[in-house]
Symmetry: C2
Subunit: 212 residues, 2 copies
DNA sequence: ATTATTTTGAGATATATTTCACAAAATAGC
DNA sequence: GCTATTTTGTGAAATATATCTCAAAATAAT
């Protein structure tokens, strides 16, 4: 059983909505509620759920508590995931201070930077020099890493991560990392996202002009 | 002629690689070079190019300068895109200070926040109170906006943006914005990305266990 | 000038993803 | 208890996306 990327992304999105609904006191949802909230079709929600073996009651919809538990299992939420961040520039610093991860069972345990000025080995989440990263990953059995270093350093930093035991994570550097099987990195590139958006905005504008 | 999301995203990625190659003194590339750099198949590169009318020379590959110009046209790089950011928290602040946009023809022209403490109407890129956002968008004909406010404020802020003239942008809030046609927003949700990555890491681990 | 080699371009094929459509189950009303 | 209504679950159809294959063009070699 292999599930497509898309289904998993949506599963995480459904989960976000469900947690809010549950906090509001809701006990059950219909596929159409979720589809409205996430911006997909009800059939999509049901297909996604059925792929992961998440079942509801005909006419009764889905029991939020029930399916949240199931989702937690699927998404590996049974244990806290420890994550490190390499690069304490704008994005790295933003992420290390971001409060939203904790309640998701994701804990940023350390930051690393090549610039000694950025090092700060006191405080809540410590920032070490990058040359301590390898040992830190080894000693603490870290498996998830975030690359937020400049593009020209990204591959080298990533290689160190992998050699130390990192199995996956996120890459904010605007390059495609070279890696072997057995490692999962997702790329987040704000510039590319903005360019893409602007392209579609322009395309839409042209289309409107044609219609008017 | 309608092009899929994916092709446009890759076009922007190809462009990033090509600009670097050009800066290094390269004059031409083959589809296989680009595919290596971006992590796709050569056929994918060629199909993408042919969709956008980007032509190369059989045996000679593609002329970098040529196709960069063409890409600039496709991606609307002929004029500088002015962008505003709502929300000066971790992510908003990171983006407003990010240097990478400028050379992409993207200019962050202002930030906005509801917290008076964050307001700073001096300096390079000014930060105004959020209640000045509507007029700013109107007066400066801004079309691109970035939502970096907390999730419970996101829809309201977005609605103001749209009413003032925003046509698209990025949404970092972990909700799905409700909008009519004629507006393009792309969602970036670091939490979802991390969860998805961790899911695939776990799936991979299980698979490996089965094989060994 | 001819032949061999390389690489594009695109139709055909394969795969992935989404939507449709409707039977089956659960609930509510009478 | 029976009927009407609602909503799930899923196979089938539709759409979107990616890969394969190979002829045609361009270049290089002899």
């Amino acid at each position: 059983m292999k599930y497509g990327n898309r289904s998993i992304i949506r599963l995480s999105q459904y989960r976000n909505v469900l947690k809010r609904l549950y906090a509001l006191g809701f006990l059950k949802v219909f596929s159409s509620n979720l589809s409205d909230a996430v911006g997909v079709t009800p059939a999509q929600v049901r297909k996604d759920f059925s792929q992961f073996g998440i079942a509801g009651n005909k006419k009764g919809g889905y029991d939020i508590n029930d399916i949240l538990k199931k989702m937690d299992g699927i998404l590996g939420k049974d244990k806290v995931q420890k994550v490190i961040i390499a690069g304490m520039g704008n994005i790295g610093s933003a992420l290390i201070h971001y409060k939203g991860f904790e309640k998701e069972g994701i804990e940023i345990v350390a930051g690393f930077d090549a610039d000694p000025v950025k090092v700060k080995e006191t405080g809540n989440v410590k920032i070490y020099h990058i040359n301590k990263m390898y040992d830190f990953i080894r000693d603490n059995n870290i498996e998830v890493g975030i690359i937020a270093v400049p593009d020209n350093a990204a591959q080298a930093v990533f290689d160190i991560m992998v050699s130390a035991g990192i199995k996956g994570g996120l890459n904010f550097a605007p390059i495609t990392l070279k890696m072997d099987q057995g490692c999962i990195m997702r790329n987040i590139n704000v510039g590319v996202e903005l360019e893409t958006t602007i392209y579609f905005m322009n395309a839409l504008k042209k289309q409107d002009e044609l219609c008017s």
